[in-house]
């Protein structure tokens, strides 16, 4: 909720209209917080809210129960206005155990709703969370927040008392109790969850019944219990009409590839080695063999990228995906695709680093690696999606460009986009631009490094084509003939040609959309997953009447042709990134503008409040 309401003492249950709310479910890894959050997301979407989500879970598979590092959480913001981010500070926190309270309380706004499961606040758990005594007994807590102590476990157990289930199984349903209660508080429809419970537990009707009852019990508890004095209603957001679905970034990348495979009508080979947070792309693709997607779980990332290159050599679309450490290993292989001039798509789902770093946390610090993480002059195209749903279009676009220009295309997503979801307007597949693959079969005048005058692409030849037998490789080649050449001028020419080919991809970039005035005080330039945080911050500043605009780059190499011009129309340029300042250096070097970075590397999305502050500061500093 953007305006926080003062705590209200008992009375009639009222329903207040609010514009937006930020809710976080937090509990033990075993408490089902991810599924609770996902269901709440669907309910909110069906209610017509715009929304954005932020799942956050530990690197451990099943951390010991009750520990601080075992806390798992799911946050979402939903509202009747455009929602760009999962929100900075919480309107409501659901804490299923003391550890969750300890880890997350500081993010709750003063006066925010705090719902705790009292049953879990027993000595063992308190100790694991490092509480010397029960924090729920501290009067300060109820003073600072609207504290609701509910024995969710007990209420759930009682609601399920007569069901033929073990106590443990019953206790497990408590997250649905919490969901029911929160759904009541925010007037979310239960139907989507009821349906999905039926689907999910189709194999065990008793479990389905138990969860259904728990959900309803939670809802009824809100309705009847004396302690909740009001609930909140949120008008449906004004969203483009059409059919929607919730979409996560990794699924969208996978589906973008499926669309590309179908439209291009050749097999697509995805070579990957599991790594967080990229693994789910491999897993998603493996389920769609009907699209002639062939997945190879390779022995390592080097094999993954080179298998993809082998596939491209064979006339299929070669794609590989990983996260930072795996991308580092692929550098040499990518260089081979650069010089062999074969299409290749590389997904980098960035995570916290360096080295193994923070595997389940998000970051944007692989931009330089994408540009330069290989020996010698080895240019590739670099593009980045702005939202989870945008991943679909970016993946599709990556295949299109790779095949058209015979060039590797690196896609920079990240952990936040990968797992985050948004309500996504389902596109009409027929409106996707065509992917035109030209496999040369004409013998006359053939040379392996002949070039298309518009794109500088060399011909793609499927082995099996009679008369076009040829050999390529990683040594420098004479232009046109493709024969090995160590000749100095040819090398210089080829270095320039490979660079020019990538530069020509600029002709694919549409004019940059400026969010705000076309000239003014401050321009905020972003890329990748910070889109939401930046847009929210900029729109807030604009609402305050500030002369601020933003642009968001989906193309990072080459940069949009109109960018230099745009940058010069503002007094200051601010570049917020979840890294130590990478795009900002590219812009400074390229355009000699005194752009400044706003950089926080916390494993989390940037807070739009912080960006807003940075904008204000720049505006102030005349």
């Amino acid at each position: 909720m953007s305006e926080s309401a003062p705590p209200v003492a008992g009375g009639l249950k009222t329903r207040r209209d609010i514009e937006r709310a930020v809710v976080r479910f937090a509990g033990d890894s075993g408490d089902g917080m991810q599924i609770t959050g996902e269901q709440f997301t669907i309910e909110s979407a069906v209610a017509g809210s715009d929304l954005a989500t932020l799942p956050n879970f530990p690197a451990e598979i099943r951390a010991p129960v009750g520990t601080l590092f075992g806390v798992s959480s799911f946050q979402l913001q939903f509202g009747s206005q455009r929602v760009y981010t999962p929100g900075d500070r919480l309107d409501m926190l659901v804490a299923m155990n003391p550890a969750a309270l300890k880890v997350h309380l500081s993010d709750l706004k003063p006066g925010g709703l705090l719902l705790v499961n009292t049953e879990a606040f027993e000595p063992g758990n308190l100790k694991k969370a490092g509480y010397p005594s029960d924090p729920l007994d501290e009067p300060a807590l109820a003073e600072r927040y609207r504290l609701h102590k509910v024995d969710m476990t007990g209420l759930t157990m009682r609601a399920l008392a007569d069901l033929p289930l073990s106590a443990k199984d019953k206790e497990r349903c408590k997250n649905f109790f919490a969901l029911g209660l929160v759904s009541w508080i925010y007037t979310r429809p239960l139907e989507p969850t009821l349906e999905s419970i039926q689907k999910k537990f189709a194999k065990s009707q008793v479990i389905a019944d138990a969860n259904t009852r728990a959900l309803k019990a939670g809802h009824a508890f809100g309705e009847t219990a004396e302690i909740f004095t009001e609930s909140y209603a949120i008008e449906p957001a004004e969203m483009a009409p059409g059919l929607y679905r919730a979409m996560t970034g990794n699924r969208a990348l996978a589906w973008g590839l499926l669309a590309a495979a179908q439209r291009s009508n050749v097999p697509l080979v995805y070579g990957a080695y599991p790594i967080t947070p990229a693994s789910s792309i491999l897993e998603e693709l493996a389920m769609h063999k009907r699209f002639r997607i062939r997945t190879i779980q390779a022995e390592d990332e080097i094999a993954a990228v080179t298998a993809a290159i082998g596939a491209s050599f064979g006339g299929a679309i070669g794609v590989t995906g990983s996260s930072g450490p795996g991308i580092a290993l692929k550098g040499e292989g990518i260089g081979l695709a650069v010089t062999a001039e074969l299409p290749l798509v590389i997904f980098d789902i960035q995570r916290g680093g360096p080295s193994t770093g923070l595997p389940t946390k998000t970051e944007q610090a692989d931009l330089m690696q994408a540009m330069y993480g290989r020996n010698s002059e080895s240019p590739v195209v670099v593009i980045a999606p702005a939202t989870p749903g945008d991943c679909f279009y970016i993946a599709y676009e990556a295949v299109r460009i790779a095949a058209k220009y015979m060039v590797p295309v690196m896609v920079l997503s990240d952990g936040f986009l990968a797992n985050g979801s948004e309500p996504w307007l389902i596109p009409d597949a027929a409106t996707l631009p065509p992917i035109e693959l030209h496999f040369r079969t004409e013998k006359e005048g053939f040379f392996p490094y002949l070039r298309d005058p518009a794109t500088l692409a060399r011909p793609w030849v499927r082995p099996g084509t009679p008369g076009l037998e040829h050999r390529i490789g990683g040594l420098e080649k004479q232009d046109v003939t493709g024969n090995i050449s160590y000749e100095p001028e040819n090398h210089d020419h080829m270095v320039r040609t490979r660079a020019e080919k990538v530069r020509r991809v600029a002709q694919e970039i549409p004019p940059t959309t400026i969010n705000g005035p076309v000239a003014g005080e401050v321009l905020v330039v972003g890329w990748g997953s910070t889109y939401g945080s930046i847009t929210a911050a900029v729109e807030r500043a604009q609402a305050d009447g500030k002369s601020v605009a933003s642009i968001h780059l989906r193309h990072l190499n080459p940069l949009p042709p109109d960018l230099g011009h745009i940058l010069r129309e503002y007094r200051r340029v601010l570049v917020p990134e979840i890294n130590s300042g990478q795009l900002v250096r590219v812009l400074r070097a390229e355009y000699l503008v005194d752009a400044v970075g706003f950089n926080r590397v916390r494993g989390l999305p940037l807070a739009s409040d912080d960006i807003h502050d940075a904008i204000s500061q720049l505006l102030g500093d005349h």
């Binding site: 669907i42 999905s196 449906p236 483009a240 009409p241 059919l243 929607y244 679905r245 919730a246 589906w255 669309a259 179908q262 050749v266 080979v269 070579g271 769609h288 063999k289 009907r290 699209f291 002639r292 997607i293 062939r294 190879i296 390779a298 080097i302 094999a303 993954a304 080179t306 298998a307 290159i309 082998g310 596939a311 491209s312 050599f313 064979g314 006339g315 070669g318 040499e332 292989g333 260089g335 081979l336 062999a340 389902i426 597949a429 496999f439 499927r462 082995p463 099996g464 084509t465 009679p466 008369g467 076009l468 037998e469 050999r471 390529i472 490789g473 990683g474 040594l475 024969n483 090995i484």
Partner: protein
């Protein structure tokens, strides 16, 4: 399958000669290098494979040996150091219809590329791997390789190498190889026979070719070059034939004594006690792979050739089953499947 995939299989194969497989590129090995003989043997074997030359691909890594594809008038890809098996795997998954050869060296295939070698072998991808073993790094000018003898003095080991060599055949078998063979660059006829055998195998065929690097490791395989020594030590494996070796007038036999192979005078054992070579027995192949002079003979030929599931066959089967059961993928349908909601 696309039209082209189906079409390729249908076309009648032309009659070729060795010449058809010679490319227009200058061959750039040192004069006297064993690679020349291998190249010639492979070019000579090609017509007998009965495969249209446009359907043949040679993939290699980096090394003197890995220059190989340039000299074959087929499709070819000279890739990066050690990765040829992985590239070939991707190629075969994309294009199971192609005949793919991997040419590699003892450094390329067993040093930097050892892991891909392991995995292509256990996956049993349908490729033919030719490992030119000269027990040295040729292209980088003479450092010791993983097959160099312990104590080998080279540029990088002036006091002798400190690592025990890997035996390529034993390694391949340890990785679950389904075809393992050995031949020698100076034995042209046997080479051709082995190349054809390896190429005909369904699954990964691993063929070690003992090769002479006359610049950095001359005559490292002299024990099988020198006529007398070859006659004394080479054990030519032939399926269904007993394991006999040595000159006609001093024939020796290999027999099992418990779990240990043992060399005896041929005339001292009854025919029934002889060890008859059976290519389908991987167990036996493992025992054979470890043999070497002076205590044992040196086996050449096919150590084992077994049938086993082939990686890309299964991948394709799954795809075809999925398509035939539920129809080809349709992105429009997928996009609207599952939980959706309408906003007007």
């Amino acid at each position: 399958m696309s039209a082209t995939e189906a079409g390729a299989a249908a076309a009648p194969t032309p009659k070729y000669t060795k010449k058809d497989f010679e490319s227009d590129q200058d061959v750039r090995w040192c004069p006297g290098c064993g690679d020349y003989a291998i190249l010639s043997a492979i070019q000579k074997s090609m017509p007998d494979l009965g495969i249209p030359k446009e359907d043949i691909v040679f993939v290699s890594g980096i090394g003197c040996s890995s220059r190989f594809p340039y000299y074959m008038n087929t499709y070819g890809f000279h890739t990066i150091h050690g990765r040829a098996p992985a590239i070939a795997t991707g190629l075969k998954v994309a294009r199971p219809d192609l005949k793919v050869f991997v040419v590699t060296g003892d450094g390329d295939g067993l040093s930097i590329g050892g892991n891909h070698m392991l995995h292509v072998l256990r996956r049993n991808v349908n490729v033919t791997i030719l490992l030119f073993n000269n027990r040295i790094y040729g292209l980088t000018k003479g450092q010791y390789s993983p097959t160099s003898e312990l104590g080998k003095v080279t540029k990088s080991t002036p006091l002798g190498s400190a690592d025990r060599p890997v035996n390529p055949l034993a390694f391949a078998l340890g990785c679950g190889a389904t075809f393992v063979g050995r031949t020698v660059d100076r034995d042209v006829k046997h080479m051709e026979e082995m190349i054809k055998r390896a190429s005909a195998h369904h699954g990964t065929a691993f063929l070690e070719i003992l090769q002479n690097c006359n610049i950095y490791n001359h005559l490292t395989w002299n024990v099988v070059y020198d006529k007398e020594s070859k006659a004394a030590h080479e054990l030519r494996l032939e399926h269904g034939k007993p394991l006999l070796f040595g000159p006609v007038d001093d024939r020796h036999a290999l027999v099992m004594e418990g779990a240990q192979p043992k060399v005896v005078r041929a005339k001292d054992v009854p025919e029934s006690a002889l060890w008859v070579h059976d290519e389908t027995k991987v167990n036996a192949a493992k025992l054979l792979a470890d043999l070497w002079t002076p205590d044992y003979p040196i086996p050449t030929g096919v150590l084992t050739a077994i049938e086993a599931p082939v990686y890309e066959d299964i991948v394709l089967e799954q795809e075809q089953r999925a398509i035939s059961e539920r129809g080809p993928g349709d992105i429009a349908k997928l996009l609207t499947s599952g939980d959706t909601w309408k906003i007007d």
